[in-house]
Symmetry: C2
C-alpha cells in the first residue's frame, strides 16, 4: 500500500485529526459539536481531509432522532511505530492512527552496545511486526532513548548511560531506514505522554511522571505539553542529592538518589543482603539464578521477606523525599510512578506517599493523587506513537 504523506493544511484540519485520534470514529455532526466552525466550513475541511485520504468515510452513524450522519474515521491503514529503548531492553509496537497497539514486542538488549547494533535490532523487530501483516509500512515513528535529547534535531546529548550515542543522528538515521518521519525524545517524557494520552493523566494539565527503572527520571508536563528544559535534560532527577555524604555515584558525586534507589542499586543491595545471609528468601533466589534483580526483590517482598520489604521501604522513603521537594517546587496536579521497579507495588507507593504528604505543604498536597502508572510497559511505546502523531497532526 502507498504510504500517506499528506499533512493537515491548516489548524482546523489538525484539530479534527486530533479529535478523531483521541475520540475514535465520529460522525460529521458530532465533530461539528466539538469544533467551533460553521457547518459549511466543517464540510469543506472534512472533504479536503477525505481527498488527502487521511480520513475515510465509514458507513452511517446511529441516528440521533433524524437523518443518520456519515461516520468519519482516520484512515485505518495508517500505521505508527513506537520504539522505547530502555537501558536493558527494547520495546517496539505498531499502532493504528488512533494509537491503539496492534502488535508489541519486547526484547532484552544492552543499550551500551551502541546505536548501530541497537538500530539493527529495532529494525529487525519492526520487520517482524510488519511480517505478521499488521503493517505494510509506517507513516511515522516515535522513539524514546534513556538519556537527554536535543529535541528539535532528535540527537542524544551527553547521555551518561549510553556513551556511544552522543551526537548520533537518531532521527535522521531512523527516518532514512524507515522512510517516514521520525521524532526522538527521552524515554521518560514518552512515558508521560503515554499516561497522558491513554493512562491516568488524561485530564490533568500539569503533572509529574517519575520513572524508576535502571535509573530514575521524571517527565514534566506543563499545560498539557512536555517540558524539556533548555538543553533537554529537564527531569533528570536521578542525580539529585538524596543522602548527604551518601554512596558514591557514577556521576562523581555522593548520595545521588539513583545511587541509593533504582533498579541497579536495588539489585546490588539485594545481592549484598543475600550474601550476608540477612535474607534466606533472597539467598535462595541468588543461588538459583546467579544474580538478583528488582523482580526478585518484589517476589521476596510478596513472600513477606522482611529484608526485601525494608529495602523497598527505604528506597521509597528516599525517593519520596526527593519527590516531596519537587512537589513543593512544581505544585503538580498529579504524580505518576512508573517504570520497571513499580512491580514493587504498594509497599513502594505507600513509602513515597508518606514522605510526600509529610514533607510538602498542605496546599500543594491537599488534592494531590500519587498513583502508579496505568499502562505499565506500554506507556513508552504509546507515548512514542503519540509524539509522532502530534507532530504529523499539526499544520505543515
Amino acid at each position: 500500500m502507498r504510504r500517506m504523506t499528506a499533512r493537515p493544511a491548516n489548524a482546523h484540519q489538525a484539530r479534527l485529526l486530533r479529535l478523531l485520534r483521541d475520540g475514535g470514529p465520529n460522525s460529521r455532526a458530532q465533530l461539528g459539536d466539538q469544533v467551533d466552525l460553521s457547518r459549511s466550513k466543517l464540510a469543506v475541511e472534512v472533504d479536503r481531509l477525505l481527498e488527502t485520504e487521511l480520513v475515510v468515510a465509514d458507513g452511517l452513524a446511529a441516528s440521533r432522532g433524524g437523518r443518520r450522519s456519515h461516520n468519519i474515521r482516520l484512515n485505518p491503514h495508517l500505521r505508527f511505530l513506537g520504539v522505547d529503548i530502555g537501558a536493558t531492553s527494547v520495546d517496539v509496537a505498531v499502532t493504528n492512527a488512533e494509537l491503539e497497539i496492534l502488535g508489541h514486542i519486547n526484547q532484552p538488549m544492552d543499550v551500551r552496545e551502541g546505536p548501530v547494533a541497537v538500530f539493527e535490532q529495532v529494525l529487525a523487530m519492526a520487520a517482524k511486526l510488519r511480517a505478521t501483516g499488521l503493517a505494510e509500512g509506517f507513516d511515522g515513528a516515535g522513539i524514546g532513548v534513556p538519556g537527554p535529547v536535543r529535541f528539535p534535531e532528535g540527537i542524544p546529548v551527553a547521555p551518561p548511560i549510553m556513551p556511544g550515542w552522543d551526537g548520533f543522528p537518531v532521527r535522521e538515521a531512523l527516518s532514512q531506514e524507515l522512510g517516514c518521519p521520525v521524532m526522538v525524545d527521552n524515554d521518560v517524557n514518552l512515558m508521560a505522554l503515554g499516561e497522558q494520552h491513554a493512562g491516568v493523566a488524561r485530564t490533568v494539565a500539569d503533572f509529574l511522571c517519575v520513572k524508576i527503572g535502571t535509573g530514575i527520571g521524571c517527565g514534566i508536563v506543563v499545560g498539557g505539553e512536555v517540558y524539556r528544559g533548555t538543553t533537554g535534560s529537564a527531569g533528570d532527577i536521578g542525580h539529585i542529592q538524596a543522602v548527604p555524604d551518601g554512596r558514591p555515584c557514577a556521576c562523581g558525586n555522593r548520595g545521588c538518589l539513583e545511587a541509593h534507589f533504582s533498579g541497579a542499586a536495588l539489585a546490588r543491595d539485594a545481592t549484598e543482603a543475600a550474601e550476608q545471609r540477612l535474607s534466606p528468601e533472597l539467598a535462595t533466589r541468588l543461588e538459583a539464578n546467579g544474580t538478583l534483580s528488582a523482580v526478585d526483590v518484589a517476589a521476596a517482598a510478596a513472600a513477606g521477606d522482611a529484608t526485601a520489604l525494608d529495602l523497598i521501604r527505604e528506597g521509597g522513603n528516599r525517593t519520596g523525599q526527593v519527590i516531596a521537594g519537587l512537589v513543593s517546587f512544581f505544585n503538580p496536579g498529579l504524580v505518576v510512578i512508573g517504570g520497571g521497579v513499580t512491580g514493587l507495588g504498594h509497599t513502594l507507593l505507600a513509602a513515597i506517599r508518606t514522605q510526600v504528604y509529610r514533607g510538602s505543604l498542605p496546599l500543594a498536597t491537599g488534592n494531590l493523587p500519587i498513583v502508579l502508572g496505568e499502562l505499565g510497559p506500554t506507556a513508552g511505546v504509546i507515548g512514542a506513537a503519540r509524539l509522532i502523531s502530534d507532530h504529523l497532526f499539526s499544520p505543515a
Copy 2:
C-alpha cells in the same frame, strides 16, 4: 483626565501594543518590519488604536533614506500602579505604559496587620504619588503578595505568613478602590516578571528566580510565561527539606530551607552569635540597635567579620544545594538570585554557585549563568506593572 478604558480588539492590536511597550516609540514603518502584516492591514489597525487613544501619533521619525515616517507611541498619559507587599514592607510605584518607573515609595509595614490596614496604607501611598502630579488616576494596577494566590480570582489561599489574608478578595477590593482593572500574584512571580521585562532575564525563555527575603520563594518561568502550578503554590521552595532532622520550622517539619536560611533565620543566628560573643562586630551592632537583621550581617561581612561570613557561606551552601536539585529537575537557562538578602552579595552568590555547579550534571550547568537580580527592590513593582499591562494588552 479621563482614564483609558479601551482594550485591543484583536491579537494584532495586542501585539502592536506590546511592541510599543517593550520597544518604546516606533515609526509605523518599523512596526511594519516587526509584525507580519500587509501595509494596508497595519495602517488600519494603527488607525483603530489611534481612535481608541491607546496610542498617539508623536511627530516624525528620522528618515531611513526616503520619506520620513510618523512616530507612534503608547499614550503618554497611561499610568499603571505597581504594588509589592513584602512581609515587612510595602513598595508602591507609578509607571507609564512603557513600564518606566515615574515614582516609587517604600514604607515598612507588617503584613500580619491584615488586609484592611495594609490596603489603607497602600491607598495612602498611591494617593501620595498621585499628589505629586505623576498621575491623575490609574489605568491598571498589579499587586504582589507574599504567599500563594488563586490567580484567576486574585485571592490569596492559605498564606502561611499572612494568616488574615486567606480568602480576602484582593483583586476585587483593590479594583473597587482604584476604579481600574487589577491583577494579583505572588510577589516572587512578579519579581521574575520584572527581571524578565527589564532585568537580566530579558532573553531567556525558561528560568528560575529565587527570592531570598524574610522567606524563600522561587518564580518559575516556562516558555516566557510564569508557571503557577495547580493551586498557585508552585515555587514554594522555602519548605523543602535542606537539612535532615534539622531545625524545627513554623510549618511543623524539621530542616526546612527557610528555617536554616532566610532573612528571619539569619537575624536569629546573628543575634545568637552576638550574644555568645563569637563576633565582636555583630555584638557592637546588637548593642547599638537592640536588634540585628540581614543588613547588619552584610555590613559585618563587608568589614571582614569571620562569623558573619560563615553564616552567609553556610546559608548559601544550603540554598545552593536545594537550587542544585531544582536545576537538575528543571534545567533552566538562567538562575536569578534576588530579594532583601542579596545585600550579602558575592559571598552568598559564590557559595550558591559552588553548590550548584558541583551538585548538578554538566549538561544542565554547562551554560547556566547564576546571577544576582539587576533591578533590586524595583523588580517587584515593575513585575506588577508588567502583569497588569500583559492583561490589558491582550485581546478583550
